[in-house]
């Protein structure tokens, strides 16, 4: 089945390249996001929906 699928597609490197790009991006943003030093920042920004802004009295 795989032979047939690949034989009918003349650019098999395309989805492999896409997977490769996704893998690199996924690794990068997962690393940056879960980097220990970012925790306080993300904890802080996660509070944003709870603040409507300061009302002017």
């Amino acid at each position: 089945m795989y032979t047939e699928i690949l034989s009918r597609f003349d650019k098999p490197w395309l989805p492999i390249l896409a997977l490769f790009i996704f893998g690199i991006c996924f690794t990068a943003y997962t690393y940056w996001t879960f980097k220990k030093s970012n925790k306080p920042v993300y904890d802080s920004v996660s509070m944003m929906p709870l603040e409507d802004g300061v009302k002017h009295e």
């Binding site: 395309l14 990068a28 920042v41 904890d43 929906p49 009302k55």
Partner: protein, 719 residues
């Protein structure tokens, strides 16, 4: 009120006063409620039409084929669309601490969108349709949608540039992905050649049209019914629970993974068709991969409620949002499951699919919108919710109705599929007569209609509850807020690349665009450019002028919503319908008419299967030739005249789309059509039909139906 700066201050920017534009949110809220009722009423109407053909009352404007597109457009673009705009405009301003970019653009957006919806309501029942599911609106409305979407985008991004918060919260990322992707999907799928003010032909044909259409169709679900609602979820669930999202870092992973993977999944709508195998496999693989980000988001939403589960019992907002997330989890589990080829072989073309779709649109979208409206209306009208008891009654009515809907469609779908596939020891179909499989599931259609009615009743309860809430409240005076303007001091020092990106909206938007472009380009471009998998068949000829007119009637009546035109390479399908379909058969089909549901049998090779007289009697009263048929009568086809005058422009448009009509054929198109109509009429007259039928639409439709599959191998030649 525009922003005023009052207190210059070095280092932290200037302290500015501003107000939010909540009036536009109120307008979209009211539109959501009105159009939601319309969408559900239409849904219940067509559910009863499927249970009993008599509900149609012989009126052409309310047949299933014409109302179903109106129902889906009303549910997706009118109901969910207005709800998205209400929620986005409310949360966007507060997350950015800025008033919307332009009050004028907001009003143009609102009235333009309502005008588009009214245009849909005024065209679809009259049969003005492109014949492409979820993209049925004709070209002038398509242009209007593009213009209004650009207005929305300018207003949205303009607000970002005026923001007083450096960080762009994750909800806004989902909104950005929605705006960009919907624009790309709509423009690419709507490319068409206009023939007249209300008629056009798709730029693509056959298998390529199918791929583009389902790339659009699936991603309309992804980027209109999912990503904006996930954005709203990341704002309103924490807001309602009064606690931050469970894991903001998970939401980052959720966003990029979902946006990248979702766009690839479209081909799972075309498994076992003539779409190239590699594209089908890619679609299936990425659909299964979608389990991870979908459930990541669902878990993130539900876990946000930890510690407040006691409030879920008593607070309508949380109750509806918890249920919506639960249904989101269930439908995003079922979706990838249905994408697995062996499961899809059973479920595709059956009622299982509408069951799955409604677990998403009612369970996820309607439930979430209910929760959001119960949050917004008391806030915007400065009051409390009129009745929590009524909201609880709505919740249970909707839930029971939806469960009845889903279970009845599971039962109907699996029953019908097993009956289609049943083959006896001699290699013959156990149920060769398609109507046997229809009659068996009609009781489930009644259950579905009853379940849908309960959902409609629940909506009416919500309407009453919300309007009473509005009535007891008041808009009140405009509240003024203050915040510091942004300057360089708000830029985070030594931030990691992704942290920096979170404050750069345009670069962020470009990257989101690239994420959806990768999958789109790899799946679609090779299919559009490559012709090596379509072996040209000389025997496949363009439709004759009369057949082309008949095809337009087929499209107008929405026949593709109940009848497919593609035979899968499966034993039971070949036994029932004839030789399996080949890509080369559809090269002149602008648009393709493969359909996605078999309420009636496949018609790909119906040409020559029955005599002309059979079709004549079938359209006037289907029960004359197929007792117990649930198809409505189409008596107006013997009353309305064939639109011969449109032929030259239609043939010319087709020629512009590379259909090989000669100048001679275009010039003599009307005469050629009339000659063919005469031949069919003579045959009918020999069996007692009056001569007056010669210039009636039914003759054109018969000519088209009798052509289907004949070039490559009609039912008769294969059986």
């Amino acid at each position: 009120m525009s922003a005023q700066s009052t207190t210059p201050s070095s280092g932290v920017g200037r302290l500015e006063k501003f107000s939010y534009d909540d009036q536009i949110v109120r307008m979209f809220v009211i539109a959501t409620i009105i159009w939601g009722a319309v969408a559900l009423l239409l849904g219940v109407t067509i559910a009863f039409e499927l249970a009993s053909w008599k509900v149609n009352m012989g009126l052409q404007w309310i047949t299933f084929g014409r109302l179903r597109p109106l129902h889906t457009n009303a549910a997706i673009f009118a109901f969910c669309g207005n709800a998205i705009f209400a929620g986005v405009y409310y949360s966007h301003q507060r997350l950015l601490k800025a008033r919307l970019f332009s009050d004028a653009l907001s009003r143009i957006h609102f009235w333009g969108w309502q005008l588009i919806i009214v245009s849909a309501a005024l065209t679809l029942p009259f049969g003005f349709t492109t014949g492409k599911e979820y993209a049925e609106l004709e070209w002038p409305i398509d242009i209007a949608i593009t213009v209004i979407w650009v207005v929305f985008a300018v207003n949205f991004f303009g607000t970002i540039f005026r923001r007083r918060e450096r960080h762009i919260y994750v909800a806004i990322w989902f909104y950005i992905a929605t705006i960009i992707t919907v624009a790309v999907l709509h423009i690419v799928n709507s490319l068409e050649i206009p023939v007249s003010l209300f008629k056009s032909y798709s730029l693509y044909a056959g298998v390529q049209d199918a791929l583009v259409q389902w790339w659009y169709g699936h991603n309309a679900v992804a980027f209109f019914l999912t990503t904006p609602f996930l954005g709203l979820m990341y704002y309103f669930v924490p807001k309602a629970a009064n606690r931050p999202v469970y894991s903001y870092r998970l939401s980052v992973i959720h966003f990029w993974s979902l946006v990248f993977i979702y766009i690839w999944a479209g081909p799972h709508h075309l498994l076992y068709t003539t779409l190239p195998e590699w594209a089908q496999t890619l679609g299936m693989a990425f659909s299964i991969a979608l389990w991870a980000p979908s459930w990541g988001g669902m878990i993130n939403g539900l876990m946000t409620l930890r510690g407040v589960w006691d409030k879920v019992r008593s607070e309508p907002v949380l109750k509806f949002m918890a249920m919506s997330l639960t249904f989101y989890g269930m439908s995003t589990f079922e979706g990838p499951l249905l994408s697995i080829k062996s499961v899809n072989a059973i479920a595709h073309f059956t009622d299982w699919i509408p069951g799955h779709v409604h677990s998403g649109t009612i369970g996820w979208n309607y439930m979430f919108i209910s929760g959001m409206l119960f949050f917004l209306v008391p806030k915007l009208w400065n009051t409390k919710l009129f009745s929590k008891a009524l909201a609880t009654a709505q919740f249970w009515t909707a839930t029971i109705g939806l469960v009845l809907y889903i279970i009845s469609m599971w039962v109907a779908g699996i029953t019908q599929s097993l009956m289609w596939r049943a083959i006896d020891a001699n290699g013959k179909l156990v149920y060769p007569n398609f109507i046997e499989t229809v009659v068996k599931i009609v009781p489930m259609y009644w259950v579905r209609a009853f379940g849908g009615t309960l959902v409609l009743v629940s909506f009416v309860l919500m309407m009453y509850n919300l309007f009473k809430t509005m009535k007891q409240g008041s808009i009140g005076s405009v509240e003024v807020y203050e915040a510091y303007s942004l300057n360089e001091s708000s830029i985070e020092k030594n931030a990691t690349p992704h942290r920096s990106l979170e404050g750069l909206p345009m670069i962020f938007a470009v990257l989101a665009f690239l994420a959806i472009l990768v999958g789109s380009a790899i799946e679609i471009v090779p299919s559009l450019l490559s012709t090596n998998y379509i072996t040209k068949l000389d025997v496949v000829k363009p439709y004759t002028p009369l057949e082309l007119l008949g095809r337009d009637i087929y499209v107008r009546e929405g026949c593709y919503l109940c009848h497919s035109q593609t035979i899968r390479p499966m034993v039971h399908e070949v036994l029932r319908y004839g030789k399996h379909s080949e890509a080369a058969e559809f090269v002149y089909d602008h648009p393709f008419q493969w359909g996605s549901k078999r309420t009636g049998p496949d018609l790909a090779r119906v040409g020559g299967k029955y005599p002309n007289m059979w079709h004549y009697r079938h359209m006037i009263n289907p029960r004359d030739v197929t007792p117990q048929s649930i198809m409505p009568i189409y008596k107006w086809l013997v009353e309305q005249k064939i639109d011969y005058a449109s032929l030259p422009s239609k043939l010319s448009a087709m020629k512009a789309l590379a259909v090989p009509y000669t100048d001679e054929q275009i010039k003599n198109g009307i005469e050629l059509a009339q000659v063919q109509a005469k031949e069919i009429t003579t045959d009918l007259m020999n069996q007692g039909v009056p001569a007056a039928v010669e210039d009636k639409e039914l003759v054109a439709l018969i000519s088209y139906l009798q052509r289907l599959g004949k070039d490559y191998g009609s039912f008769k030649t294969n059986n």
